[in-house]
Amino acid sequence: MIRTLDELTPDARAAAQAWLDQMVDAVQPALRAAVREDLVAHLCERLDATAGVPDVAQVTLAAGPISGGPSSGARWTRRLLAGWRLRDLAGRIAATWWNPAEERLLVPRAMGLGWDLNLGAVAVRLGVIEPDAEAVPFTATPARAFATAAAVPAALAAAAVLHYAVRGRSLPDRLPAHWNAVGVPDRWMPKGRAAAVDVMATVVPAAVAGWAVRSGRPGPERAGLIAGATLFASIGATTTVARSLGEQPRPWLGPVLAAVGPLAVGAVLVGLARAGRAEEIRRDLEETNE
């Protein structure tokens, strides 16, 4: 470390000055003096009096170009790509759908673009949980609570399977595949295919939730997996019911299909978070009593 560039050898000083001139040239005139001062400090910190031209070059190369950060285009690309990262997706989903410390009800999605409902903020507003019940949600949630939560998608899967096993024969040969805005079926599919789709749509999520329970993954990740599984399984189970309703218009079908997922996920996450809170309280109060 040196205090001023004068301490450098003449060659090294000349190299440093040339770099400073070049860098400062790229900056708006009003900022040049301040930037130059910062860069001199940067050099002084990293060089000593014996530094040669190669040392100066090494420090100046490491400093990189001066700019106002990545262009807004690059920033947006990075932000878009960040939305599609797969790393710790389950944990990110849990942190997005359940963030009671955050007051906002709509928060940026864990995956892709757009906004998701922060069910944690909803729960706080309903007085179901404190914003700080757990510093990191689901870290104190005990294993048995995860097992109970995973029973929700499992029950939905069992219901769908039973429905087709018991009522399958009495259902018409073709079942609705799509409904219009007032809940009248406008596309159809063969019964066998509809049954296969609905069973898969509920059994696969139930299996994922079951795996999550036994996976030994961190609590937030398990909560995210079970919540995602519950969302898919509840949509699958509601579709199963909707297909068996026949051809009459059912204007409530759309809103019900849209509401069932968030309600089921909300119930599961409230249960898991309350279990985590109860576990923290039990631990703390037992310790105090000991």
Partner: protein
């Protein structure tokens, strides 16, 4: 220019929020909504619960405060926050730095008064 003043004051508040919360805990442990209310009672430091709770979580993860649930005389148990030894050290370091900045600024602004 009330808006510019408010925006600047809000930036200033954000910068000292850690210090304010740690200082609130210096004499005794407090629970979340108590911390929010005590900050709200000082309009210059009033910050929404949505900012205070994530900050408390951060201080707790950083080992500056520790939390314990305690029975409440009214209603459900409450989560209390108290300073750890690290938190106390950090608080004195921050308070010292703040005092230096504040006294330097007071010096500079002496002519304004």
């Amino acid at each position: 220019m009330p808006n510019e003043r408010d925006a600047w004051a809000s930036q200033l508040r954000k910068g000292v929020l850690d210090l304010a919360v740690l200082a609130l805990l210096v004499s005794e442990a407090k629970y979340g909504s108590q911390i929010v209310d005590e900050l709200a009672a000082r309009p210059a430091l009033a910050i929404s619960a949505g900012t205070v709770y994530p900050l408390l979580a951060r201080l707790s993860r950083g080992g500056l405060v520790q939390t314990t649930w305690q029975e409440s005389p009214v209603g459900p148990p409450r989560k209390y926050y108290e300073l750890t030894a690290v938190g106390r050290r950090q608080l004195s370091a921050m308070a010292e730095a703040f005092a230096e900045v504040s006294s330097a600024l007071n010096d500079l602004m002496g002519e304004l008064r």
